[in-house]
């Protein structure tokens, strides 16, 4: 520590980085930030960093980076300007000044903000409010149609399905087996399956007789008691007694 007002105490815990230090140094110039001497500011900062090193205080890297940048800025400001160098040193100095102004403005704004009449410190809400309670009550809605349609759905979904076949004439497989087997013995010629059906069969009974006779023919063929022939799919189906019954 020194008596020099331009020198800051080297308690680094108190500083939030190089910009913070620069702002404090700039404030020590006791002029509007717009009018600060950037050269003086650079010298003050470099002295601050040197002193820190002199007492072997370990400085964070960003303080050293700022020191190097400021040393570069200083030389740029002092030496004759090289028009090739962009950005030029005056521009860099102006940018630094603008940054310091902005940090300073926000620091002051923050101080004014926390100094306002704050709830819980300066002004107080009611200590024991009764509280407002809104009980939300659902007003459930459903229409009679929804209700019966739902029941219809459940019923359709879960009732056991029963099919009633009303008075349909059928030829059973047993009857067909007996009839086809008996008729096969009458002749040795190929005959279409239709000739094996009862002559009186019409309508659904005929369909039933055809289906049963077909299954009967397959069964008889399996037993070696019939031979089947069909030229192509859906072509007439022929049956006859095997010429040489298989074993």
């Amino acid at each position: 520590m020194t008596e020099d007002p331009a020198t800051l105490t080297l308690d680094l815990d108190g500083w939030e980085g190089p910009l913070d230090v620069l702002l404090a140094l700039a404030r020590n110039q006791k002029v509007d930030l717009k009018a600060i001497s950037i050269l003086a500011l650079v010298d003050q900062y470099l002295r601050f960093v040197e002193e820190a090193r002199a007492i072997k205080l370990e400085l964070a890297a960003d303080y050293l980076v700022m020191a190097a940048w400021l040393a570069y800025l200083k030389s740029g400001l002092l030496l004759p300007r090289d028009p090739e160098v962009e950005p030029n040193p005056e521009e860099l100095a102006l940018r630094l000044q603008l940054r310091l102004e902005r940090l300073s403005a926000m620091r002051e704004a923050g101080a004014r903000l926390v100094a306002r009449d704050r709830i819980g410190r300066d002004v107080f809400p009611r200590g024991a409010p009764e509280g407002l309670r809104t009980q939300r009550k659902a007003l459930w809605q459903a229409e009679i149609y929804d209700l019966i349609a739902a029941y219809g759905v459940i019923t359709a979904r879960t009732r056991p399905v029963m099919h009633f076949v009303a008075q349909r004439e059928v030829m059973t497989l047993e009857a067909a087996l007996e009839r086809v087997g008996r008729l096969l013995g009458i002749t040795m010629e190929w005959r279409t399956i239709e000739t094996f059906l009862p002559p009186a069969a019409t309508g659904v009974f005929r369909k039933s007789a055809l289906a049963s006779s077909f299954v009967a023919a397959l069964e008889l063929a399996k037993q070696g008691r019939a031979e089947l022939r069909q030229q192509s799919p859906f072509a007439p189906l022929y049956l006859r007694t095997p010429v040489e019954p298989r074993a």
Partner: protein, 195 residues
């Protein structure tokens, strides 16, 4: 309001911010010995007839909302809500089969029901517990209420369409079809609500 004197203002602020009713002595201590009784009387008169009043309970003073405003502190807000499919199906089963148990409802629906579903129907006032069935486990029975009949515009449960009526109305169509119809109904309702 009149602009009150400083002691009245101080007592007013202290009582307002207090978390508990305070005795006159406690207020005085708080205000570094200022006499507060006159101020309390003034405040009580100031607030007479307002939405807030200053009251003395035993030896303690506190602000409270005027008793005739108490109903404002608790408000019931009704929100129309649509029953879920589980809700409407459960209600339909109870209506057609009452009194019935939860297990029966589940057997008929073919899906389990959550307790919440029955709760919602009870909250709506459409079903009620109706004793227990005297079988092992004594399961609770559910039945519909007069409110149920009133809501659905039915004179009695016999007014519910029977299975034959449902079939005639096409409501026993293959399940897929019926589901589609319900789904599209639901969509229409949603878009109505958005309007």
């Amino acid at each position: 309001m009149s602009a009150p004197d400083p002691v009245v203002r101080a007592v007013e602020a202290v009582l307002f911010a207090a978390t508990e009713p305070m005795t006159a002595d406690a207020i005085r201590t708080h205000l570094q010995g200022v006499e507060v009784r006159a101020a309390l009387a003034t405040l009580q008169a100031d607030y007479a007839g307002r939405g807030i009043e200053l009251v003395k309970r035993g030896e303690r003073w506190h602000f409270q909302t005027a008793p005739d405003m108490a109903h404002l502190l608790r408000r019931t807000h009704e929100e129309p809500r649509k029953l879920t499919r589980a809700g409407i199906e459960t209600l339909a089963i109870i209506a057609y089969h009452e009194p019935t148990t939860r297990a029966e409802i589940e057997a008929i629906r073919g899906v389990g029901i959550s307790k919440g579903t029955l709760d919602v129907l009870m909250e709506a006032g459409w079903i009620r517990p109706a004793g227990r069935r005297e079988v092992p486990g004594r399961p609770l029975l559910y039945a519909t209420t007069p409110e149920f009949l009133a809501h659905f515009g039915l004179a009695s449960r016999r007014d519910l369409p029977g299975i034959d009526d449902l079939r005639a109305a096409g409501l026993l169509d293959p399940v897929d079809l019926a589901f589609e119809r319900i789904d599209s109904d639901a969509e229409v309702e949603v878009s109505d609500e958005e309007d």
